[in-house]
């Protein structure tokens, strides 16, 4: 079906994906860069800061691109990064 696709799908709100909240334990990071390299959505990059261990910890570029696959958590050797689902007020009401 090679028609040109250019519109935003009309039901894209229905298919809203959970929003992510990324937590980086900066001083626990040893700067191996695995999380940056393996993130499929290219959410992270190396920051210019220097942490307690004397390395550049990662920094979030665009949190909205994160799809909560949590692969960064899996590959981090130092347990220095984790992702949780962001609870929005409205959604809280719905869930409850």
């Amino acid at each position: 079906m090679p028609e040109r696709i250019w519109r935003k799908p009309l039901d894209s709100e229905k298919a809203k994906l959970p929003k992510a909240e990324i937590h980086i334990l900066r001083d626990q990071c040893k700067g191996c860069g695995y999380c940056i390299q393996y993130c499929p959505q290219r959410v992270l990059e190396e920051s210019n800061d220097i942490n307690a261990r004397g390395v550049h910890p990662p920094r979030v570029v665009d949190e909205s691109k994160c799809v909560l696959c949590s692969f960064c958590t899996s590959v981090c050797p130092d347990f220095a990064i984790f992702v949780i689902e962001k609870k929005e007020c409205k959604e809280n009401v719905k869930h409850d």
């Binding site: 696709i5 519109r7 009309l10 039901d11 393996y38 499929p40 959505q41 692969f71």
Partner: protein
């Protein structure tokens, strides 16, 4: 020469007795040339014992006359001067056979498509040309030999390419007849365009409701092997014996999938669903629509987070209870052997963003008719509510614009797309059914409601208050605030300008050939029309056959058509393929090469040019061997052989040289000797005739199966006998009916040009033309151009050329 071959090539002592029949074809021929005079002329030719002109030679009476003449006058060769051999050669060959004459002792002169119809207003010149054409046919006929055909088995398996409604119907019909069928579909599910449409005209049936049971039949049929998400990548072989390679792309989900959909719920990637024309979302793991067959989900690896080969995200794997997800799947190549192939590859829709005056792609409320189908469909993104994309409100005023990408000189789409008028009428009634207050305008060029029940539907739409306005809008302008649209144009019936404001515009887009139909064309060596749809063998009598044996068409691949016509054609194609397979064998034309081992130097040149590997060099025996069943019959080996150790049966060097000699016997300096390949250029010249394109009567066409048969010595002979010019015409490079033989043609002509240059001759006198079967005008204009060119050639130059090539 071996005695047997001598007999086969028939240098026998039997007296040649030729009967010539000049057909009037009513006034089709007799209206533009003097048939009596041609017949009288024919009676003066050598070996002709009988020459008659007759009103309709192909009629039963005409056929009976030939049969009784064969017996009464002991005719052993028959020449009929009438229409194209591509039309009636089989008819007259049968007549000869029924009278006890070998069918290869028949020859035809094409005085209709290539004479009377292209020289409608020059009776004298047309009559002279017809005499020449008859003379050529008689000269060849005198050298014709009886030949035996070999039989090839036909595998009782079929391949259907494309799983739209046409492919589905063809596959089911063949499978129900009892043949094994492979159905190959490029998309993840079969169903094609019909699955995407909401209702069908004129009965307003729900499209998917009538299609889904058929799709499911395909999925369960014991005789059908469904290969979805697969593409045909290679086809080798010939009628009855095709060897096909199919690339089966990985789904990453195994057959254990129960289509529960838990995987898609957790998949974190979303994208527009192509099935819904991008109006709805899907996930990276998905099924295009609820009724899909096969129902197995599929992972779009371009989107999946695991595309780099590492399992980054395992949400779907964890969600799948049946453990049906397998990221290790690799593309597979499946090889199959089939006897027949049905091409049902369908059509694409026109992209209206190439017409900037309609603003598609810029104004959100301008949509295409296909987007409309998804919007009005209960399974679509809006749950069947017609909403306009800008604010998701139900529009109160709607306009349809017809012929978008059809019947227009812009974009070179001059053809009518057949389905859009009725589709719009159906769509307007659908809107009226749900929201009767909606104001509907239809802007059209002509409303074509030609089919059964169509006019009734059209009347109903008018009764419901749909306003039909003749005259397409020149421009659509958007009101920036409201996102409403102004249509500005001329009502050509009332001769007044209109400016109409609506909430939404639906562009009724036309159909166009699949963008990848060129690949199918090359794989199957079939032809396409000037608009790009596949070309049938005969527009009236063989409408579902390809010119290439064993290949048939169904659905929009051949031309735009509605569902009913697609289904009808699919059943016809299945029946045609079934006839071949029921017979189980077919005789192939006796146009294979014949060798003269005593001349053979075992140089192996012929084996190198053969596109079918049908020749093997036996160096130790100092000869080549022919595998007749593998031979396609192009004759390029005969053109390549420098030692006259090889020629093509029924198109022997002697026969072709005799035709050249006949053309050049009188006033050669005014004539163009043309060699046209049977499949493209000769068919194109016929097409010029059918379309009554007029061109100067200088040209005399000699038919060869392939332009690759044209040996340099033929060109040499034509020039040595004083011909003004020579034209070699064949299929476009890449489109050769015999795989790639026309590259040999090109090589030989280029070599000949070099030779002419070295001899100080004007190389423009030898022309090479690529023209497809649909390009009649290309051939006609080439002849016109050459006509101008040969007028400037002096007799002196012709004499010089004659000498250079050893003529007298």
């Amino acid at each position: 020469m071996v005695e047997g071959e001598k007999q086969k090539l028939g240098e026998s002592s039997e007296e040649v007795r030729i009967g010539v029949y000049v057909c009037h074809c009513g006034l089709n021929i007799a209206g533009s040339l003097n048939c009596e005079e041609v017949a009288k002329f024919a009676s003066t030719l050598p070996h002709v014992v009988l020459a008659k002109d007759y009103r309709y030679t192909c009629s039963d009476q005409g056929q009976a006359m030939i049969k009784s003449d064969i017996k009464e006058h002991k005719l052993n060769r028959v020449v009929v001067a009438s229409c194209s051999p591509r039309l009636h050669e089989p008819t007259f060959r049968k007549v000869c056979e029924e009278a006890g004459l070998n069918k290869y002792l028949f020859e035809m002169a094409n005085i209709r498509e290539q004479c009377s119809w292209v020289h409608l207003y020059d009776r004298e010149a047309a009559t002279e040309k017809a005499k020449d054409l008859v003379k050529m046919a008689v000269a060849k006929a005198a050298l014709l030999q009886p030949l035996e055909e070999i039989e090839v088995p036909i595998l009782r398996k079929a391949l259907v390419i494309g799983g739209g409604v046409a492919g589905i119907q063809a596959a089911l019909d063949l499978a129900d007849t009892g043949y094994e069928v492979y159905l190959v579909e490029k998309e993840p599910s079969i169903g094609g365009m019909m699955a995407r449409i909401d209702k069908t005209f004129p009965t307003m049936d729900c499209s998917i409701c009538i299609l889904a049971p058929k799709m499911s039949d395909v999925g369960h049929h014991p005789n059908i092997e469904l290969l979805a998400n697969s593409e045909v990548i290679d086809v080798k072989g010939y009628i009855g014996n095709f060897h096909v390679k199919i690339l089966k792309k990985p789904r990453y989900v195994t057959k254990d999938c129960s289509a529960c959909g838990e995987c898609a719920k957790v998949c974190p990637v979303i994208a527009p669903n192509e099935f819904d024309a991008g109006l709805a979302v899907r996930h990276a793991i998905y099924t295009p629509f609820a009724q899909a067959v096969p129902a197995t989900y599929i992972i779009d690896m371009r989107l999946c987070l695991n595309k780099e080969g590492i399992i980054v995200c395992d949400k779907c794997i964890r969600a799948c209870e049946r453990q049906a997800i397998n990221f290790e799947m690799k593309p597979e190549t499946v090889e199959i052997d089939v006897g027949t192939i049905i091409v049902a590859t369908g059509a694409d829709v026109f992209d209206p963003s190439t017409l900037p005056n309609y603003g598609y792609g810029k104004y959100p409320n301008v949509i295409t008719s296909l987007e409309f189908e998804r919007l009005i469909n209960a399974g679509g993104p809006s749950g069947g509510h017609l909403i306009r994309p800008s604010d998701k409100q139900i529009p109160k005023r709607v306009a349809f614009v017809q012929c978008v990408g059809s019947r227009s000189n812009r974009n070179e789409r001059q053809y009518c797309s057949n389905v859009c008028c009725m589709n719009t009428i159906k769509d307007s009634l659908l809107i009226k059914e749900h929201w009767p207050e909606t104001e509907i305008y239809v802007f059209y060029v002509d409303i074509r409601a030609y089919g059964k029940g169509f006019e009734d539907l059209y009347r109903r739409a008018r009764e419901e208050g749909v306003k039909f306005i003749r005259g397409l809008p020149a421009e659509i302008i958007e009101d920036k605030k409201t996102r409403n649209l102004w249509l500005i144009g001329e009502n050509t019936l009332q001769k007044e300008l209109y400016k109409i404001n609506v909430d939404m515009v639906i562009l009724s887009v036309g159909l166009e050939p699949r963008k990848d139909s060129e690949i199918i064309q090359r794989l199957l060596t079939i032809s396409r029309t000037q608009h790009g749809f596949f070309l049938e063998a005969h527009p009236k009598l063989r409408p579902v056959d390809a010119a290439t044996g064993g290949i048939f068409f169904a659905g929009c691949a051949e031309a735009p058509k509605d569902i009913k016509d697609s289904v009808t054609q699919a059943s016809a194609a299945a029946a045609r393929a079934g006839i071949l397979m029921a017979k189980g064998k077919i005789s192939v034309e006796a146009i294979t090469p014949i060798t003269f081992p005593e001349n053979c130097k075992a140089c192996g040149l012929c084996t190198k040019v053969c596109p079918y590997n049908a020749l093997t060099l036996r160096k130790e025996l100092k000869r080549v061997e022919v595998i007749e069943a593998a031979c396609g019959g192009c004759g390029t080996c005969a053109a390549e052989c420098p030692f006259e150790a090889l020629t093509q049966k029924h198109f022997t060097d002697k026969q072709i040289l005799a035709q050249i000699d006949a053309v050049t016997e009188h006033e050669a300096h005014k004539k163009i000797v043309a060699f046209c390949c049977n499949w493209c250029a000769y068919a194109g010249a016929d097409f010029a005739g059918v379309s009554r394109m007029q061109y100067p009567p200088d040209v005399r066409i000699i038919r060869t199966m392939c332009s690759g048969r044209v040996s340099p010595k033929f060109i040499e002979r034509a020039f040595a006998r004083g011909a003004a010019a020579v034209l070699v015409a064949g299929c476009h490079p890449g489109d050769c009916h015999y795989i790639n033989t026309n590259y040999q043609t090109q090589k030989r002509v280029e070599r000949f040009w070099k030779k002419m240059e070295q001899l100080g001759l004007n190389k423009e006198r030898l022309q090479l033309l690529w023209a497809s079967a649909a390009e009649g005008e290309r051939i006609a204009s080439k002849i016109r151009e050459m006509h101008e060119m040969i007028r400037k050639i002096s007799l002196d130059e012709i004499e010089r050329t004659k000498k250079a090539f050893g003529g007298s």
